[in-house]
Symmetry: C2
Subunit: 321 residues, 2 copies
Amino acid sequence: MEKKVTIQDIARQAEVAKSTVSRYLNGGSVSPQTRRKIDEIVRKNQYIPNTFAQGLKQEKNRTIGVIVPRLDSMAQVEMLRGLDSANQNDTFLIANIYQDPIRELAAIKKFIAQKVAGLIILTANLTDEIRQTLLDADIPVVLQGQDEPDFARVMMDDQQAGKVVGQYIQTLAPKNVLILNVDSKLDWAVGYERFQGLKAALANIPHQEIITTFKRQTAKLDAAKAMSQQHYDLVIGATDAIAVGAMQAGFELNQQSYYLGFGQSVYSEIVSPELTSFEFNFFETGEQIYDLFQKIRNEANIRPLKIVIPGQLIRRASTKK
Amino acid sequence: MEKKVTIQDIARQAEVAKSTVSRYLNGGSVSPQTRRKIDEIVRKNQYIPNTFAQGLKQEKNRTIGVIVPRLDSMAQVEMLRGLDSANQNDTFLIANIYQDPIRELAAIKKFIAQKVAGLIILTANLTDEIRQTLLDADIPVVLQGQDEPDFARVMMDDQQAGKVVGQYIQTLAPKNVLILNVDSKLDWAVGYERFQGLKAALANIPHQEIITTFKRQTAKLDAAKAMSQQHYDLVIGATDAIAVGAMQAGFELNQQSYYLGFGQSVYSEIVSPELTSFEFNFFETGEQIYDLFQKIRNEANIRPLKIVIPGQLIRRASTKK
DNA sequence: TTGTAAGCGTTATCAC
DNA sequence: GTGATAACGCTTACAA
């Protein structure tokens, strides 16, 4: 039953032209009487305009495509919340691409075909093909997490993060440091930038760097392997999840160590001892991303802007005697 | 530059009619030569078909709208992963509605206007208006978390959960039980069903029920208030997050108690002691949801199906002496 | 204020 | 195998 009711049907029943109904729908000038009449009919028929037909004409759209590498990350989810919070009048289409560049490209193309008003990409790493597709599409794009000079972008200050943590490390005077990092090819900001800042601090301290993944379980296994071979009195994880994995490995090995992570996670205040961590406010970051998007959407041909979000070191029990 | 390139442009450059290009695009019969020619031009121009125009014609769509009440929940995210994993050939549009029925209705209407192939709703509670809108839309709908007889649905077996936990409780022989529940108006399955099963077990045990929220922080505060007034030797949280909040409150009050939660969370294996919890496999649930969706999409007018997902009690250190 | 009519980009139906 | 041509449902000049 319930075929699809079109603007034509409404017009017929209201005994007006469909252009009048269209005007009514878009706040054009309509006399109070016809307005009331249409009002009623629209309600009675539960009429919902066909977005395809609308989109076909307007080539405009209050829809923003959002690319999310992974949803099982508090950082990402918080940023989404921030987006929603700052959101004025847009609809977000979220594509979870599981850190897969193939999926990412496909999702982006799909968004473009859907004529989204723009793209917000919470990315870890941009392939050349994706970069080119984005450039060609010529729509507003805001990147997060990747310092691409061609695009507007919001970055976490990972260099500063590394530096601050580096300074803090000095005060702990560790004898032997284990660093659990991720592949910088997978996430440049985390894998590279963040640890650049640490370098100076580590210059005179024995340390070893191991590459693991973002998954706590994997990190735990990798940490256990390393920590069973020698003792580290300070373990630094590239993320909180990694640090927590290491902490669990350390406990099982009955080792005493300091632990330190990065990011803002559900973990830090849950584990005991609570985890010292360099934290960013991802919710606020999300809001900033949206604001930046608004800016570049409204001012065409603006020079690619870059916003850097600072963070701060939260000292908790995991680095206390 | 890069205006939008249409099928017309391709046709002109290839010196064929646009209907030929259309056939080419949709796998119709085209001679090898023209095929090659169009091939090249399409690639050169980076042509992407306009989904609006397509949608307008086809009235069909490989897009499924997914309503998610909250993204900061491992259960939800796992189900999304399950959906993606089972996904054959569809695109999911995710709307995060922050447990807000107003947002939910708006999102659903928007999806319908977009002529989605169907709706998957991970809901906590359905308002009458939403139910009616769904019914009127007459498209495939799969619900999760709400036992609505008019819809196909996938349910966690919350009654069984309560019952199993109830039996287990007996073996713990608690003297005084604190239950931290959520408002059943907000989430019937969790707030009501789940604790129905517990009732029998609690009949002869002194217990108190307190209503709190899904947020760990709030639960912690509410738990602290209750636990500072009297001692409970067993604390049951309606979710893991709630149980962990209570656990933290208990530690700060220096109290000794058993703790027990529900759900599958990042928490259970992170806290110490690790949390005993009745767990569901939400990833698999997501896969089941998608399969069910496929079924009702293909067989019109099928009687509303109901799938119940069992769970199991995972005993961990938090309920051990 | 209202109606008429011309598209928007695509697919589908026919002739050729 | 190919090409006109008519929809699809809506917006928008332009007339009335």
